[in-house]
Structures are given as structure tokens and as C-alpha cells.
Amino acid sequence: MKKSIFALIPLFVISLSVIITSCGGNNEEEKVDKQINKMIDSNNVALGVSGKMFIIPSPIQTAMLIQKSGAQYDKSMLNETGKVNSYSTKFFQCLNLGIYGADLGYTTLYDQTQDALSYFNVTNKIANDLGLASAFDKNLIERFQKNLGTKDSMLVLVSAAYRASNDFLKHNDRMEEASLIIAGGWIETLNFALNVQKSKGNEDVKRRIADQKNTLNNLISLLSAYQGNEEYVELLQKLNDLKTEYDKVQYKYVFEQPVTDEVTKVTTITSKSDIIISPENIQTISEKVAAIRGLITA
């Protein structure tokens, strides 16, 4: 009798665990809240240093600025689609997914449908190679194909695809790959801005180049988490070298009280910032960014 009772214990534990995990209805949220108590610490590690998360601005913002500056479409700035098969390691695939993604955004902004289709195909290819295919549902891909040529819709879809892949990578503990994709996108759009500044010279574009000072610092922090990997050595070396040039960019900020309109739900931030970047600064930054891009796209 004693033997048979003890033999039932594992069954009891299994039953209990099934009951716990299957409890639903009104107690679901309460149960999850209790679990959060235990989950918070491990999830806060993902927030970064001291619970702060540093956000790299979307590359589409700079691409939009470049287009508004009146710069002509320049396909020679983009990474050749033919190189896509030469990226065989995850490191270079992720970086170039970021680069091709930025190129896709650029071709879309300029209504270059054929080129947009080419860049859509290469981003799709690399995404598949990286196992990101399941990040995009069939609906998203169909909408892409249907909306090629419609700039506004395409911009929304490019953002949606970017978010889908970013979420997928984060959910699957692939933060390193997500960081590399972001880094690739940032390098490419900075390269766009530098090329435009060289050929056309525009105050807003020049300002945007200078504005990347803090973003670069955040990007280096983001990637430094993986500096133990051999592949990162040269990339981080070159990014830190770029940083030494950006350290020469002078930034002055003066706070002013913002103005809020409750009716329209708009706050106008009137604080002023002045930034000083010399032509020599820009030239050196341009050379160093070209070197970083060359390392990634070779």
C-alpha cells in the first residue's frame, strides 16, 4: 500500500503543474503578475546598463531628409545587390541586412520601383538565410509586392518589416543579430548623408551628420557587449577611430521651456542646440565611414 501511494507522487506533481499552467479566466492576469515578480530581474538585464535602453534613430529619417534636400537619386551610393551571396557568416549577413534595408528605404523614397524590387529581393534573401522568414507573415510580403511603387505605403511596410524582424530577434534571444542590423542601417544612411554633403553641400544634411555624435557613442556601447568575438575587433576599432573624429564636433545646448497645446496634443520643444563641425571634420568622418562600410560590404 505504501509503495503504491508513493508511486502516485510524480503523477500528483504532474497533475498539479498541469492545473497551474492551465488555469485561466479571471485569475490569468493575477497569476502572470505574480510570475512577473520572479521574471523582472532577468528581463531587466536586457534593458542594458542600469536599466537604460539606448535607441538608435530609424535610418529612414535621414533618408527622408536627404530627399527633401533636393539631392538627386544616386544609385552608385547603394550596396550592389549582386554581392548578396558573398555574405556567408551571420556577422556580415546581419550587417548587410541593415545596409540593404536602408537601401530599400532610399529607393522607395525616390520612387525607384525597379530598384526597390531588387533591394526587396535581396533583403528577403538574407532574411531567409538568417532564419527570419517566420518573422514576416504572408500578408506582409503580399502587401510589399502589391504596393511596390506606392511610396507612402512602402515606407510604412518597410518600417513594419523592420519592426517584425527586430521583435522576432529579440523574442528569440538574438539581440546580437538585432544590434548588427541596426549598426548596418546606421552606417549606410550616414554614408548617404556624407555623399550628398560632398556633392551638393546642404546645411540640414551637414547638421544631420554632426547630430550622429551621440548615436555613434550609443552604437559603440551596444556592440561592445560582443567585443569578445573576433569578428567584432576590427569593426569596433574602426568605430572607435570614427569616434575620435566625432569628439571634435562641438555641441552646445540651451534649455528653453517647451510650449504645450493641450487641444492638439502637441508640445513644441523650443530648446536650442548649436553644433560646430568643420569641413575638415566632415572630410575625415567621410573617409572613416567609407572604410567601415568597405569592411562590411567587401
Binding site: K3, F6, A7, I9, P10, V13, I14, S17, I20, T21, V32, D33, Q35, I36, N37, K38, M39, I40, N43, N44, L47, G51, K52, M53, F54, I55, P57, S58, I60, Q61, M64, L65, D152, L155, V156, S159, A160, Y162, R163, N166, D167, D204, R207, R208, D211, N214, T215, N218, Y253, F255, P258, T264, K265, V266, T267, T268, I269, S271, K272, S273
Partner: protein, 144 residues
């Protein structure tokens, strides 16, 4: 007796991680749902910046998100927790910690727009309002 005890230990070894994983997946799923609901606040003419910023918070904790707002741009910040609007307080500071905006003064509005004259680095702080714990989701969009 020893055999039964051993079976119990083995059983627990396999069962507990799945309970834990189930709870973790539940939290991710909860955050996903909140993010989907929150995304309705970032619609045309705003384009999402392509990311979701999430933090699992307890009461009194806050999450900090650091980003750059470019001069000449107009941004929308949407901040949500739970399936209903109005439960998450978000505040925006500059790098010198001057308060630029807090939705607490506007009935915890789930989104707000920011017209930026000059580029500045901002800190977005999110805190739960009332709940003991929850997933905070912050989304950022910029105007075309």
C-alpha cells in the same frame, strides 16, 4: 522509497522549466498584445521607427529610453500597458533632466506629439500608474 524519490526529482527537473517557460512565454505574449493595441496610436501621417521598446516593471520602478529627436522633425510617443489606455505614465526629459512633458498632467494620455526645433537627446521615462506590475510598451513614430 529511494526509487520513488528519484522519480519525483526527475519529474520536477523536467516539469519546472516548462512551468517557468510557460510563464515567460505568457509575459512575452502579453507584451505582444499590448504592443499591437498600442500600435493603433502610430498611424499615418506618422511612420513607426520600426522598433518596440518594452520593459517589465513593478510598482515604483521606471524604465528609461534614451534617443535623439532631430531638429525640424515631429515625433509621436505612444506608451501603453494593459489593454486599456491611461495606465502608463510617461515623461520626457532632456539630457540635463529638465522636464519637457509628462502625460500625468493630461490624464495619462496614451500618446503625445513633439515638434522639435533643434536636435536634442531625450530621455523617455515610463512608470506604471496603479498597477503592481506590468509590461510597459513605448512606440515612437515620426511624421513624413
Amino acid at each position: 522509497m529511494k526509487k520513488v524519490f528519484f522519480r519525483l526529482l526527475v519529474g520536477l527537473f523536467f516539469i519546472l522549466p516548462s512551468i517557468w517557460k510557460g510563464a515567460g512565454m505568457g509575459l512575452h505574449a502579453q507584451c505582444d498584445t499590448i504592443a499591437s493595441v498600442c500600435a493603433k496610436h502610430i498611424m499615418a501621417p506618422y511612420i513607426s521607427d520600426g522598433q518596440q521598446y518594452r520593459a517589465l516593471l513593478m510598482a515604483e520602478q521606471n524604465a528609461e529610453f534614451h534617443t535623439t529627436f532631430y531638429g525640424g522633425g515631429t515625433y509621436r510617443i505612444a506608451a501603453c500597458t494593459g489593454l486599456k489606455d491611461g495606465n502608463l505614465v510617461f515623461s520626457v526629459y532632456d539630457e540635463e533632466r529638465n522636464l519637457l512633458f509628462s502625460n500625468k498632467e493630461y490624464k495619462n494620455a496614451p500618446y503625445w506629439d513633439f515638434k522639435v526645433n533643434s536636435t536634442l537627446d531625450v530621455i523617455i521615462e515610463a512608470t506604471l500608474d496603479g498597477a503592481q506590475s506590468g509590461c510597459a510598451v513605448v512606440l515612437i513614430g515620426f511624421k513624413q
